[in-house]
């Protein structure tokens, strides 16, 4: 049996070597909090003690699960604990959760194995999953946590069997109690012995139809700490004697600080020092052996350090500064769109999936549908502004406190920037006040490390919201042209697309269309375009950007061919049973129809990401004056199985709300090379009074199928709304933000 390429036999060996030798341990003090609201104070972090990768059991039966994924709202602390507890069979009340210690990676030698550039990458499963993102936590870690729980259970049984002189097969392990007939003992009593036991073969893990805990809506383990202010985020770190830093880097990305006048502010209350940030290209190379993000590169700028953050921030604002904006000082949103539009007339790179002779068919067709679409940059805008605290200790010890999607990168980036050995760096994960792909870059961590290096004191760096949005690596700006030739039956014979987007998004449109619909002739071309605005993954990634285009275009093809948009999709999805099933369910649940009175409309969209097809239907109402109200979203999804239905609903609703902000209100506006709308007054987010009723319908195909849910409903919402707007008003909205369009009707 294979788990992510690791056999069950080698699973324990790998885990053991990464963990320092045992799967079970119990160095943990009794009476630990249910959820440590300050995870960085976990004993493992503070003492540098590796207990093990996965779990420990105390004498009193308390089971502590080490979570290797970061909690950024997706409920992973709860779901990973559920995976393990499912197999271990333990009272849920006895479960405790702590963030795993990042440090063990370095101790396990993974870091040194990567140091040589020619060395092939040696992934330990533990190392790999210390990066949280890409909707991978369930897909990558579920079997590992189940295996860890099952292994622990069997070792406990073996320990009891040996003590009682019976066969392991005859020992029962249930809710923290081991038993054989009248003989009983707790997990806690046998944990120490169990830790010594090596199984000749690891047990099989449960199939979904055997689950009793997974699949239930257990309350989130982090909720109690999040309703009383005790849940601690990176920004809440307070260290003895620490100072505070506020920072500003070149407002035009790629520009540089020319001069500053510290003397003008040095007498302001509390001001300690100005710290110039000077990029060092040698520090960040795209193919560095640790694979940390090139986005972590230091940007030219200036920080002010003071005895309080507010004093640092106001002093920074008052300090005279001159910037060399560089060659992009004249760029603005419109000129940047114009550059991309021009590329729609030039051949791009052909996508791998192209089939048939689409361009010839299109050129010869007299029944052509064509449309251009555009979308601006969008920023992650996590509610917790970017921040990082660096603690400087004795003997060169460096402590890093941050909510990071990549704590292992945080460790190595800090070591790199401060010029210390990674063994001296300790990372203390915290709750993330939003991640969405933003907290995977370590740029704030490198910046804090550099400031601490120069100041020589423990320092807390907090970005203003203006810096947070203005210096955000964005979701790509994109333009695309889609054309299709319809046959006599009104179905597309051929589709031709050309799209222009930044690196990680460049192939997104082609990928979505080619993979989804059975159109016989397809030709997709893409231009990989880069401006001075940095870009990176944003929740929903390619789907969140391109579904708006592809799924509106599918409606346009359907209507041009005289077909109902939903039935049209069902036909084109002939080879995709799971997508068809989701769409059929949507038809029933939403009551989708195209004949509502003017001013009302329903629109649909469907796509699949991370093995989870999701279809949505938006119901909108638009006043004659053009005021849009999204009244309802019905969504149907199939992730195969689910671990916690309540958390699934949170995630799927969250996807839709996240993207509604961009689709309705968003759009980063570039003026004079810089982000103009860098706070929530002008970069608007969806508010509760605009929140539609969102009904999440489960259409799970079960079996051994697993998909993700944390960014699988971002893409469909914008095209569903746009398609609904068309039915309500007859107006096609081919760019976002939607609310910039005149939606009035007569």
């Amino acid at each position: 049996m294979k788990h992510n390429g690791i056999s069950r036999r080698t699973f324990i060996v790998t885990a053991a070597s990464a963990a320092g030798g045992m799967m079970l341990g119990f160095c943990r003090p009794a009476g630990a909090a249910k959820l440590n609201p300050r995870p960085w104070l976990s004993p493992a972090g503070e003492k540098g003690v590796d207990i093990n990768v996965w779990l420990s059991i105390e004498r009193n039966g308390v089971v502590t699960v080490q979570t290797v994924s970061e909690e950024m709202g997706q409920g992973i602390l709860t779901t990973q604990a559920m995976m393990l507890a499912e197999e271990l069979s333990v009272d849920w009340a006895d479960i405790r959760v702590v963030h795993a210690d990042v440090k063990r990676q370095v101790k396990a030698g993974v870091y040194t194995a990567w140091a040589g550039k020619d060395e092939p990458r040696k992934w330990s499963p533990a190392w790999r999953i210390m990066r949280t993102g890409g909707s991978t936590a369930v897909l990558v870690t579920r079997e590992l946590y189940q295996q860890a729980g099952a292994s622990a259970r069997e070792r406990l049984k073996e320990a009891a069997a040996q003590a009682w002189g019976v066969s392991r097969a005859d020992v029962k392990a249930e809710l923290g109690v081991l038993s054989f007939g009248e003989r009983k003992g707790t997990y806690g009593e046998f944990a120490e012995h169990a830790a010594e036991i090596q199984l000749s073969e690891e047990p099989a893990i449960k199939r979904p139809d055997q689950f009793t805990l997974m699949g239930t809506s257990i309350a989130r383990i982090d909720t109690p700490a999040k309703v009383n202010g005790s849940a601690a985020y990176g920004i809440d770190t307070r260290l003895p004697g620490m100072v505070y830093a506020a920072v500003q880097v070149s407002p035009v990305p790629g520009g540089r600080l020319r001069s500053y006048d510290f003397n003008a502010i040095k007498d302001r209350p509390g001001v300690i020092q100005a710290v110039e940030l000077v990029p060092d290209p040698s520090k960040v190379v795209p193919d560095n052996p640790y694979k940390w993000s090139p986005h972590s590169a230091l940007k030219s700028g200036i920080a002010v350090v003071a005895d309080s953050w507010y004093r640092a921030k106001t002093a920074l604002e008052h300090m005279p500064k001159e910037w060399d904006d560089g060659p992009n000082a004249g760029a603005d949103t419109e000129s940047m769109f114009a550059e991309r539009r021009a590329l729609l007339y030039k051949p791009g790179t052909a996508h791998d999936s192209n089939v048939g002779d689409a361009r010839t068919i299109l050129a010869a067709s007299n029944r052509v549908v064509t449309a251009d679409f555009e979308r601006p940059y969008e920023a992650h805008a996590c509610m917790e502004p970017m921040n990082c605290t660096i603690g400087l200790g004795e003997d060169g010890r460096v402590d890093v406190y941050a909510g990071s999607q990549r704590p292992s990168d945080a460790l190595l980036v800090t070591a790199d920037q401060m010029g210390v050995d990674p063994s001296k760096v300790f990372v203390h994960p915290a709750f993330l006040g939003g991640g969405f792909g933003r907290r995977a870059k370590s740029d704030e961590i490198r910046q804090a490390a550099e400031i601490a290096r120069q100041v020589g004191r423990s320092v807390k760096l907090v970005w203003t919201r203006e810096e947070d949005i203005g210096q955000c690596p964005m979701r790509s700006m994109a333009v695309a042209r889609l054309s299709a030739a319809l046959g006599p039956d009104g179905f597309p014979k051929a589709i031709v697309t050309r799209s222009v987007a930044e690196t990680v998004y460049a192939k997104g449109l082609a990928g979505a269309l080619a993979g989804q619909y059975g159109i016989p002739h397809q030709h997709h071309e893409y231009h990989t375009f880069e401006s001075h605005i940095p870009t990176t993954f944003l929740r929903g990634v390619g789907n969140s950007l391109f579904d708006f285009m592809s799924e509106q275009f599918v409606d346009e093809m359907a209507l041009a061919g005289g077909h109902d948009p939903l039935d049209f999709r069902l036909k084109l999805l002939a080879g995709k049973p799971r997508m068809r099933a989701v769409l059929q369910t949507l038809k029933e649940k939403s009551g989708f129809r195209t004949n509502l009175p003017t001013g009302q409309g329903m629109g649909i969209a469907i796509s699949q990401n991370h093995n989870t097809p999701c279809a949505q239907c938006a119901t909108v109402k638009i006043s004659r004056g053009g005021e849009l109200r999204v009244e309802r979203i019905d969504m149907v999804f199939d992730s195969g199985n689910v671990i916690n239905p309540s958390i699934c609903v949170q995630q799927l609703q969250g996807c839709a709300v996240y993207e509604m902000s961009h689709a309705l209100h968003g759009g980063i506006d570039i003026r004079n090379g810089r982000v103009e709308n860098n706070n929530f007054d002008r970069y608007r987010m969806l508010r509760i009074d605009e929140m539609p009723e969102i009904n999440v319908h489960f259409a799970l195909s079960g079996g051994e199928t697993w998909g993700s849910v944390s960014e699988e409903a971002n893409g469909q919402v914008a095209p569903a709304i746009a398609n609904a707007i068309f039915f309500a008003t007859g107006k096609r909205v081919r760019s976002t933000p939607i609310l910039k369009h005149d939606l009035s009707w007569v």
Binding site: K226, A232, C382, M383, E384, G433, Y658, L686, I688
Partner: protein, 158 residues
């Protein structure tokens, strides 16, 4: 400038510039970190506290104006998470990342203090100043309605 603040029933002597936003005095000077920084311009509501029972965005409220008034932060809403809004938030499992939730809870608590049985429209109006990027709005509505029920039951018991 020296001044005394009453926060959660405790007096704190602080020495800060009078124009310092209350948020930073609460977080950095006093060390109550449950109140969050989000935008610095009263747009997101993460910093919502009560001043004499009213929901106020503390990032845009000068500390000097808070002197002599009763300030309540999330830490002071109840000693044991037993405020009806907190109970409802737990029951409905509202938070995702949780960062905005202190502000959401304080805004909801202020609403229920002035309107015992708010309509859906009143809930939306009262909570529209508090952003949530995770999209917990549906559960915030549900939990606010539930909190009103819990508060009503609590009054009945007294």
């Amino acid at each position: 400038m020296s001044m005394t603040l009453n926060i959660n029933g405790t007096s704190y002597a602080v020495d800060v510039e009078p124009e310092t936003p209350l948020l930073w005095v609460i977080r950095d000077t006093i060390g109550l970190t449950g109140t969050k920084f989000g935008c610095g311009m009263a747009q997101c509501g993460a910093c919502t506290v009560h001043i004499d029972g009213q929901a106020v965005k503390s990032c845009s409220f000068k500390v000097a104006s808070a002197v002599g008034r009763q300030i309540t932060t999330i830490e002071g809403l109840s000693p044991d998470s037993s405020h009806p809004v907190q109970l409802a938030w737990i029951e409905v499992d509202v938070p995702q990342c949780g960062y905005c939730q202190s502000g959401q809870i304080m805004a909801a608590a202020a609403l229920l203090a002035r309107s015992k049985n708010p309509t859906d429209r009143e809930i939306d109006d009262a909570m529209a100043g508090n952003l949530c990027r995770c999209g917990t709005y549906a559960r915030i509505r549900e939990a606010t309605r539930r909190a009103a029920q819990l508060a009503s039951a609590e009054r009945g018991l007294r």
